[in-house]
Symmetry: C2
Subunit: 434 residues, 2 copies
Amino acid sequence: MSAPPHRVVIVGGGFGGLHCAQSLARAAVEVTLVDRRNFHLFQPLLYQVATGALSPANIAAPLRSVLKKQRNTRVLLGEAVGIDAAARRLLLRDGELPYDTLVVATGSHHHYFGHEEWARLAPGLKTIEDATEMRGRIFHAFEAAEREGDPARRSALLTFVVVGGGPTGVELAGALAEIARHTMNHEFRSIDPGSARIILIESGDRILTPYDPKLSEKAVAALAGLGVVVRTGSMVTAVRENGVTVKTTAGEEIIFARTVLWGAGVMASPLGRIVAEATSAEVDRAGRLMVEPDCSIRNHPGIFIIGDLANFSHDGGRPLPGVAQVAMQQGHHVAKLIRARLDGRSLPPFRYRDLGSMATIGKRLAVAEIGSWRLSGTIAWLAWLFIHVLKLIRFESRVLVLVQWAWYYVSWNRSARLITGAQERSDESAGGAR
Amino acid sequence: MSAPPHRVVIVGGGFGGLHCAQSLARAAVEVTLVDRRNFHLFQPLLYQVATGALSPANIAAPLRSVLKKQRNTRVLLGEAVGIDAAARRLLLRDGELPYDTLVVATGSHHHYFGHEEWARLAPGLKTIEDATEMRGRIFHAFEAAEREGDPARRSALLTFVVVGGGPTGVELAGALAEIARHTMNHEFRSIDPGSARIILIESGDRILTPYDPKLSEKAVAALAGLGVVVRTGSMVTAVRENGVTVKTTAGEEIIFARTVLWGAGVMASPLGRIVAEATSAEVDRAGRLMVEPDCSIRNHPGIFIIGDLANFSHDGGRPLPGVAQVAMQQGHHVAKLIRARLDGRSLPPFRYRDLGSMATIGKRLAVAEIGSWRLSGTIAWLAWLFIHVLKLIRFESRVLVLVQWAWYYVSWNRSARLITGAQERSDESAGGAR
């Protein structure tokens, strides 16, 4: 009689968890992938859902469908709420799962630096629901402005504040500008959507801080060309129904805006702290678990933390960034390590291979750092397009994405700009329709 | 100085309202189209969203985008709550709109024959939100079944009851069967999705009553071939969390099912009764307004009711059916009449030209009545496909729909099967994951 197979439980079907599972396809292990959602989300394109260019299903692949041919793997819809490290059991909201190796890859969510009450007023962008909520707010603002008689309120409806000058904020601001200047052209009778103000607010002294300063400048120029006002060195100190308060060295200022989008803070998912308590692992200020050079937790060689949930800082101190590449490479590394251990082998520590990073601003506008190359403009945009098309190859919906991008490219039209869900919100315009 | 233009206000951007607006494109009138939603919905394909084959945006076109080139027309997002017929004003929740001619085309919604408490347990299918709710329930049931240890509860999770043997019910039941037998194949480890029971319940003595009885038989045979159990002469007398009670001549029976989908009753939208009170119009049992042969309300020649909201019964008594064709032709007729009146001409009464009806059951399975033709099987399915592709030509997303249909045709895969929104519901399975 053979020994029971080694049980690997992976929590989270994002880039890290999914790649880990896929890298275990031919291993002599029994893999269980647990996620609260039934799909893998291609998060780098979530801003395109939030701005009506793509549909949620275009960037989401059912986990079951992705893994159906991998016979050693099963997918469970479930929510992990704790672990019993001594008994090696993952605790779910309604059950438990024993494991021999546990891989935790539950990622991060946006947070508001202690102002969680801002969440309602300034939605962030991590889930499909976030994206459809944002999409509804954006397009509803133009609709309400068309009916608003009061100039001040109309102006606030046509002012969009994006908080955070990282890739998400830059991509959102650029897309908003294209919507206002191009997509909405000729569609309104009372307002000129092109007059909308889009303000990108960044507390640091430049946007896209991980990039070369030259590229930050190029991005600012590209955004300015689209009509986006970029305000660096500006800290948001309050968010209200009708706008935000911004503090600079010159003092405080109120920007009246009915739509505020949040692309600023990121916090590790709550499961991180629960795992940390159960394993006495160290946690950083962003809630990430400090991991060993092999991505495991100290004294718990059978528990791995990968992706946004991990603070991997073995290359001179700065933790690795919270990007898909890191998560995927860590997932792959952990899978290799699991296989090596089963064979009685060991592996060198995890090393991140930086394949470059890029952010897109608009049509033929992007910035990219690939190795020692610094690209901007059309060439960076083409690189962005090429790489994202390649990445989407795994997705059944890749053809759909290409068709929609091509259509948008020639027409500026965004086919998915639906106001759905809870967006039948009260707008203050009491002035009547005429 | 010329006279102010004739103001036409259209309430509702469905098939009737949108076609009326479009037929007024070159008329010397000022058109305002008011809708609560910012998009026109291609409702005949809503069941494909509910079953994960298409995304909401594939069957929804932003009204603004559709009408942007029609310079005499503006689109307003707003909710009509009443009319002041004497002063000729449409009352909105937050304002009002004066009109010279009013066209009310707010359609219908599903209803539960006085059991509105069933709505929560057995969602209907009229809106995008209904469709994503249904989609979530369907795919969540399979997920919960995979984790359910108790055989009785697992069986209830794998039992799907569709109430109502009209086109919606038939299309839903057929799609559910294809999902269970084909789409989900090889995706689960604990359950066999192909063992799911799909039960279509119809209170009348046959399904698809408006069709020739021969076609009803063909539809039953096609459904049976897919594994759907069709129960005619069966009245649903209770809906609960865990199933439905069905009454037949043989007595009452309980069917244990965790997913109950409602395709049965239809009721005119609430604005109908409000308009009826304001105009002393007669209302039928389904809440529809009795209209004159020109689609206007008696004694109110400037108020027209079209589509599902109207009871047009001038051809021998039976009201015209609540289908897109009737609404579109009525919208076109009213637009022609408005133009004729401005020229001092009159028009013959509205006459419905029945272009045929069709319902699709599955891949190469459909029934169709076109004139004196009775089609079924592949030929009916091809006719259905051809006509729907033609109808979708107006839609920017038509290419996307075709790509997705083609992909489904070769792979059975449904790319849009996301569980989103409120679907993170508690499932009763407390038995644990293993």
